[in-house]
């Protein structure tokens, strides 16, 4: 497909594929072909299934991150991709599977109807549909409502950072340990029994009060739900207010994603899961990659879209569906009857230019139609990017992370000759020198500029120095990464943010303050290690 003279044999290629459509499956060469995934690759039903299943297992096998017996939380939105993920795990754990998957899955669904302006009836119906899908899987599941961000503890934002250690050895040990425990136990049902035990154990976990009300939902049957929500109407209002306070859809989508991530992390923690699986497909990731570039998240691309995202320390997010295109998933779901639920999101039916994410999606989809290698090229570009673990220090003391997205702040370029600095210079120069600039709305902007001004004036290209400086004006902005700052800039009021975020912001500000007071007694500067670019 990618030989020397791509240009000149376009038409011969076209002829080829026409010829092959009518012929047999390219793999088994026996059964008639049923579908074409890429140009020239015609598959029959069985071979397609085999190919699809193999890809999933190969992805997990290659990366060796999911240990046998480990509890893995599947984040299922109900869309085609995550539903397909759920189906793959179901199949892989069933007795029919030749080599059973050995991890222990559970499901979480974040219900976001409140942010998207849905009525309670609509939401109840969608949840009921999802529950029926989830209960057929036999896995424990949790439905978490977006409203619950208003009862999250601030500890969600305190990640325990751990460096990726020698994975191979760990994996081998884990496999060995698992095999042993399998032998000592009685029979094969073991896996499922341990699930049940573990879930009931973690249910009594200290934090469990919040989610436990509906955690047993699958045991107590669907009817128990009946209009009982684990949140108050006031909280629904608060969600609506928060999203109404954001001036752009771009910011709304970012905020929703952040809150969703926090809820998933929290759920994973209190229920004792150490891995979270997301259903991002290759197509979705290509869109996300480009959108994130446009949103100023370049430094974190690899983490935001890679196979594994270790930034939260105790919980690793993995994306096993990342090699399937949206088309493959759609075909698979249709051919093998994988159920999925359509839920209208924030940008459903929105015009193309409603948000950066939405624009990027339609741009990629259109480009893909003209240049069929667009998605895979972008995807492969992302494989070459470095997640930059190396620059995060081993001890977590000095690591400042973004309040919202938990990425490490120190790795963004902030020296004088950078875009980061150029834009703050522009802001600063365009305003009068007097600190009281006038309107209320720009006051936050000025704070930001004051901070940056100090940074640029004082620093001599050395970012660790400027970081010290920045801490002398502890404010909300200094706790955010470049991109999350843009999100918050689009908010009319910070007070509408959920309590746990504000609380954590206060805690961090207090800490920097204290640190500043005791600065002269500290022999080694914690920041030295992590800020060197």
């Amino acid at each position: 497909m990618c030989d020397l003279d791509e240009g000149s044999n376009e038409d011969s290629m076209g002829r080829d594929s026409v010829k092959r459509i009518s012929s047999k499956c390219m793999k088994c060469k026996e059964s008639p072909a049923l579908l074409i995934i890429r140009v020239g690759d015609a598959f029959c039903r069985n071979c397609f299934k085999e190919y699809f299943v193999h890809k999933f297992r190969a992805m997990l096998g290659k990366n060796r991150l999911v240990f046998p017996g480990e509890k893995v939380l599947l984040a299922v939105s109900g869309g085609p991709s995550s539903s397909s993920l759920l189906f793959q795990v179901q199949e892989g754990l069933s007795h029919k599977a030749s080599k059973k998957l050995r991890f222990v899955p559970g499901i979480v669904h974040i219900e976001e109807g409140a942010a998207c302006g849905k009525t309670l009836e609509e939401r109840t119906k969608i949840v009921a549909d999802l529950k029926s899908i989830f209960s057929t899987s036999g896995f424990p599941f949790v439905i978490v409502y977006l409203e619950e961000v208003f009862s999250l503890p601030s500890s969600v934002l305190q990640s325990i950072f751990s460096l990726p250690t020698e994975k191979d050895d760990l994996y081998k040990d884990a496999v060995a340990g698992f095999m042993q425990s399998c032998h000592t136990s009685v029979k094969k049902n073991l896996c499922h029994e341990t699930v049940a035990q573990e879930t009931t154990l973690t249910e009594d976990h200290t934090h469990a009060s919040l989610l436990s009300t509906h955690a047993h939902a699958n045991e107590t049957s669907i009817s128990a739900f009946r209009g009982k929500f684990p949140f108050s109407p006031e909280q629904t209002e608060a969600v609506k207010k928060l999203f109404a306070s954001m001036k752009t859809l771009t910011a709304k989508e970012e905020m929703l994603q952040t809150l969703r991530k926090h809820l998933i992390l929290y759920t994973a923690r209190i229920k004792g899961y150490s891995k979270v699986m997301m259903g991002d497909s290759c197509t979705r990731l290509a869109v996300k990659l480009l959108a994130n570039i446009c949103l100023g998240r370049g430094a974190f691309l690899a983490m935001d879209t890679g196979f594994s995202d270790p930034r939260h320390g105790d919980i690793t997010i993995i994306r096993p569906m990342r090699e399937y295109s949206a088309k493959e998933i759609a075909f698979y779901n249709k051919l093998f009857g994988v159920p999925s639920v359509f839920t209208a999101g924030l940008n459903t039916k929105a015009p193309e230019k409603a948000s950066i994410q939405h624009l990027t999606e339609s741009f990629i989809v259109k480009l893909q139609a003209d240049f069929p290698s667009t998605v895979s090229t972008i995807y492969r570009t992302s494989e070459k990017l470095n997640p930059r673990y190396s620059q995060t220090p081993a001890d977590d003391k000095g690591t400042e992370t973004c309040l919202l997205c938990s990425c490490v702040l120190g790795i963004e370029l902030r020296d004088e000759a950078s875009a980061f600095c150029a834009i703050s210079i522009s802001e600063e120069l365009s305003q009068s020198k007097k600190p009281e600039g006038g309107q209320v709305s720009s006051s936050t902007m000025e704070e930001c500029c004051a901070e940056n001004k100090m940074e640029t004036l004082e620093s001599s290209g050395c970012s660790c120095q400027s970081r010290e400086r920045r801490n002398t004006t502890p404010d909300f902005w200094s706790l955010l990464c470049y991109s999350c700052k843009l999100v918050v800039k689009d908010m009319t009021s910070l007070d509408l943010l959920p309590e746990y975020i504000l609380e954590e912001a206060n805690r961090r500000q207090r800490r920097t303050q204290i640190k500043r007071e005791i600065q002269e007694y500290l022999l080694t500067s914690e920041d030295d290690a992590d800020t060197a670019p």
């Binding site: 100023g296 600095c421 834009i423």
Partner: protein, 341 residues
Amino acid sequence: MPVLCSRCEIKKAHLKRPKTGHSLCKECFFWVFEEEVHHSIVSAKLFNRGETVGIGASGGKDSTVLAHVMKVLNERYDYGLNLILLSVDEGITGYRDDSLETVKRNQEQYELPLKIVSYEELYGWTMDTIVKQVGLKNNCTFCGVFRRQALDRGAMMLEVDKICTGHNADDVAETVLMNFLRGDIARLRRCTAISTGSEGAIPRCKPLKYAYEKEIVLYAYFKKLDYFSTECIYSPNAYRGHARSFLKDLESIRPSSIIDVIHSGENLSVKEEVRMPIQGNCARCGYISSQKLCKACVLLEGLNRGLPKLGIGKHHKLQDKLLKSQPLTEEEEKKFKMISF
């Protein structure tokens, strides 16, 4: 009630800055725009006192504003630079000949020396004759590759120490997007650098790297600068066009997007184990190249052999043959002849 300038708070605001949304009066806008370019120059240490700097001048808005601002700043902050205008004549009738007239006027207005190098004298081909042979499909490849080298050769003739070009923030952001879409990781890493090529080639820099295209137009408009604003008569690069319109849409949604994309580009980090092309020199002309023969030489060879597609697409298997001026096989010849469009 008229809106007051947000900077001086005395005069009536004349314009809304595309970059930050602030309302400014003309004078403050000029000052702010120039200061920002000054900041880019100083913070990235682009020039040293006493250097001769060639300004790539096409007669378009970017290079006209660049020449103007460079002159202003050189005097205001006493950079001690010796500025020269450097133009490339691609030989496009009805386009470049007109724009070069603008450059000549600029030369008089700014009192800067001007050097014009033409494709014809360097390569023996003008774009007009190239298009006659190649057609309108891949002609931009020729023009782009040749221009890059022509500018360097002109600079060498003038013995300048550095070249600066009028690439603006939109151009840089667009290039980031385009290289990302094409998966060109080597260029992706290089394209956000404000100055490039210290080893071998003459260093180049982009003092307008953080200046929005719209602000450049505003600056030229209010300063009443004399510039040429016609699109090239040969079709523009289609793929770049996609990136360009996408960026324009982004800007309309969130004006900071352009800088945000550059910020992303500056912070991308590439895995160490990813293989990068090794930069060497062309065996024929000595210009920097990752292959034995540089792209310009291959393209030129193709033109001279009457095989214009030779340089389009991949050609590393043929490098040795071309270098020894051996004839190609019939099959190979057939492949690189023009196919009718």
